[in-house]
């Protein structure tokens, strides 16, 4: 695999011995991860294992205390300018969508391009409509988020991130707050995105999705990476006992 000897500036995301504490609590322990451009990574693991914390470190929503995180060739440090640079290139979708309720769907999508990328409004609207069409809800552009279903809201959230033209997309359990019927419409959008070659890091328990698009599945427990493999090997032939237990639990209902 490319991950062993790729030099850092070819990598989309590189985590080297990352450690993080919440107060006394050691939440991430020596995490190492290399993601090449275009790679799709699915991260799974039991609740509280640190999955969210890890991907939130990648766009510095959380700070790590030890180790190195390099995103797109930029190392994340205290330097606010670098953090801004990284955030411009990294899109993120949350479990609870986090759309801005006081703005329309279209305004949600044009806000960052206009204020962060300094794009003229007309161009931002054009791009926003383009992505809203791609997530198949252009007709909702003038509604407010509160008037949409959960699945529609999550698709708007994806479109909102894509409007910034990110190189990397982070997803933190994007479907776990949704009803079964809506999960599919969101996953369809994500599969399409994957097929177009977007670099994706995705915390999810949707194993069908993982088998379909992931290049690699990472299993975390207690703040550590326990096992990492390509999806078929991972699901059919897990090596670690902890992984086996976890898989038997989530696949058995």
């Amino acid at each position: 695999m490319a991950m062993e000897n790729a030099s850092s500036n070819e990598l989309a995301v590189q985590l080297v011995d990352v450690n993080k504490w919440y107060g006394e609590f050691h939440v991430l322990k020596n995490i190492n991860l290399n993601v090449t451009p275009g790679e799709r990574i699915v991260i799974c693991g039991p609740s509280g294992s640190g999955k969210s914390t890890m991907i939130r470190c990648i766009n510095r929503l959380e700070e790590h205390q030890k180790g190195k995180i390099i995103v797109n060739g930029i190392e994340l440090t205290e330097d606010l300018k670098r953090i801004d640079e990284v955030r411009r290139e990294v899109g993120m979708c949350f479990q609870h969508f986090n759309l801005f309720p006081h703005l329309t769907v279209l305004e949600n999508c044009t806000l960052a391009p206009i204020w962060v990328r300094k794009m003229p409004k007309s161009e931002a609207v054009k791009i926003a409509m383009h992505y809203l069409e791609r997530v198949k809800i252009p007709e909702q552009a003038d509604k407010y988020p509160g008037q949409l279903s959960g699945g529609q809201q999550q698709r708007v959230a994806i479109a909102r991130s894509l409007c910034m033209n990110p190189k990397i997309m982070l997803f933190d359990e994007p479907t776990s707050a949704l009803d079964p019927e809506m999960i599919k419409e969101v996953l369809d959008v994500m599969v399409e995105l994957a097929e177009e070659g977007m670099t994706m890091l995705c915390v999810t328990h949707e194993m069908g999705f993982a088998k379909l698009v992931a290049n690699r599945v990472i299993f975390m427990d207690a703040g550590q990476v326990v096992e990492e493999n390509e999806p078929h090997e991972f699901f059919d032939n897990p090596q670690n006992d902890r992984t086996k237990l976890f898989l038997s639990q989530i696949l058995n209902h």
């Binding site: 929503l61 986090n98 759309l99 801005f100």
Partner: protein, 366 residues
């Protein structure tokens, strides 16, 4: 097998309509309600009749001194009519009343349209009322420029002064309050400590003592020769005091914004100020409109306290006039009139805030 076919949608059932229907549903639906309605109705009407009789039917509306009111048993509104100029303008020179009239007209013109949902240039009117309006009024009222005679602040008074104090207090306290609220939630200890100290200091003392300090104590600490206007000092005192209150109201709103909103705006690359200005504050301020207006109304009424430092607002001019021997006992009329003036403006603010809330409502939050 049967195919699933949804039932057709039907119109809602017709409810009781018309006046009779409304009366029946709301006032006489059960025997108990009927009795309650009759009792309350009797109480309201029997207490309203003497009030109306005093205020309107037996009242005197014209006349220039106490003889006009000696005949009747009702209110002596002639007194109010006779003194209305003092109540409205204080001791501002009569020849210059037009300047205050213009300011008042501008006030009505720039806020009146805000009550109509369809009026197109509301945004610009809003900007004008925060920027151009105070500047124009300041030059008009104080004069000393553009060929206008200069009129010292000691002569400003009456309703004009009340409105001025309240307006400046409101317009200045809101931005200061926002800054203080953000500062109190800041991650930088120096800024946070300063804001907490400021807020707790000003919030913990009565406005009367703030005014007293600003007018009596402050000059003692200032270097010789440096002296600034009493009205200005009162304004600064009121603004500081109200900013502290405002800050806490706004902080309540900031507290209520879910963490996800901060995270989403960070993840999109918005800077601190942009995410505050575009995402957090618009939502937080909308949430606390009732609290903000509450503070404004309290401020409006608190302006009466400037009396103790010798500024004559509307209540003070009323109080001075009712002791005038030229008129009999007109204290009731005077206070009722003052109360009515305050009520009109406070009620206006309350209505405005409600229309604002309706306008900004964008469906349920999820």
């Amino acid at each position: 097998m049967n195919e699933f076919k949804p039932l057709p949608s039907l119109p809602p059932p017709a409810s009781l309509t018309g006046v009779v229907g409304w009366l029946h549903k709301n006032l006489f639906s059960t025997p108990l309600y009927t009795i309650l309605t009759l009792v309350v109705g009797y109480l309201v009407i029997s207490s309203l009749i003497p009030v109306l009789d005093w205020a309107i039917f037996s009242a005197n509306f014209t006349g220039n001194d106490r003889s006009a009111c000696e005949s009747g048993t009702g209110a002596c509104w002639a007194f109010i009519g006779n003194r209305i100029n003092i109540f409205a303008y204080g001791s501002y020179p009569a020849a210059e009343y037009w300047r205050l009239d213009i300011c008042f007209a501008l006030l009505v013109l720039s806020f009146g349209p805000q009550f109509f949902d369809k009026f197109p240039y509301k945004m610009w009117l809003g900007v004008f009322s925060l920027t151009g309006f105070p500047v124009i009024c300041f030059y008009l009222i104080s004069g000393g420029a553009f060929g206008l005679e200069s009129i010292e602040t000691g002569k400003w008074g009456g309703l004009a002064l009340t409105l001025m104090l309240a307006y400046v207090g409101i317009v200045a306290a809101l931005p200061f309050g926002i800054v203080l609220a953000l500062g109190r939630r800041s991650e930088m200890p120096v800024i946070r400590t300063f804001c907490i100290a400021f807020i707790e200091l000003w919030r913990g003392v009565p406005l009367i003592s703030v005014l007293f300090m600003s007018s009596v104590m402050l000059p003692l600490f200032l270097p010789e020769g440096m002296n600034f206007d009493k009205l200005l000092r009162a304004l600064i005192g009121i603004t500081m005091f109200q900013s502290a209150y405002m800050a806490e109201v706004i902080r309540g709103g900031l507290q209520a914004i879910p963490r996800g909103q901060y995270e989403a705006s960070k993840a999109l690359g918005l800077s601190y100020w942009k995410s505050m200005g575009l995402i957090i504050l618009p939502q937080a301020l909308k949430l606390v409109i009732p609290g903000i207006v509450n503070t404004f109304i309290a401020l409006f009424k608190d302006t009466t306290l400037v009396l103790i430092i010798g500024l004559l607002d509307i209540l003070a001019t009323v109080q001075a006039s009712i002791t005038d021997p030229e008129w009999g006992s007109v204290a009731t009329e005077g206070y009722v009139f003052a109360a009515l003036c305050f009520w009109v403006f406070c009620f206006g603010m309350s209505r405005y805030s409600q229309s604002l809330e309706r306008k900004l409502h964008t469906g349920h939050k999820r």
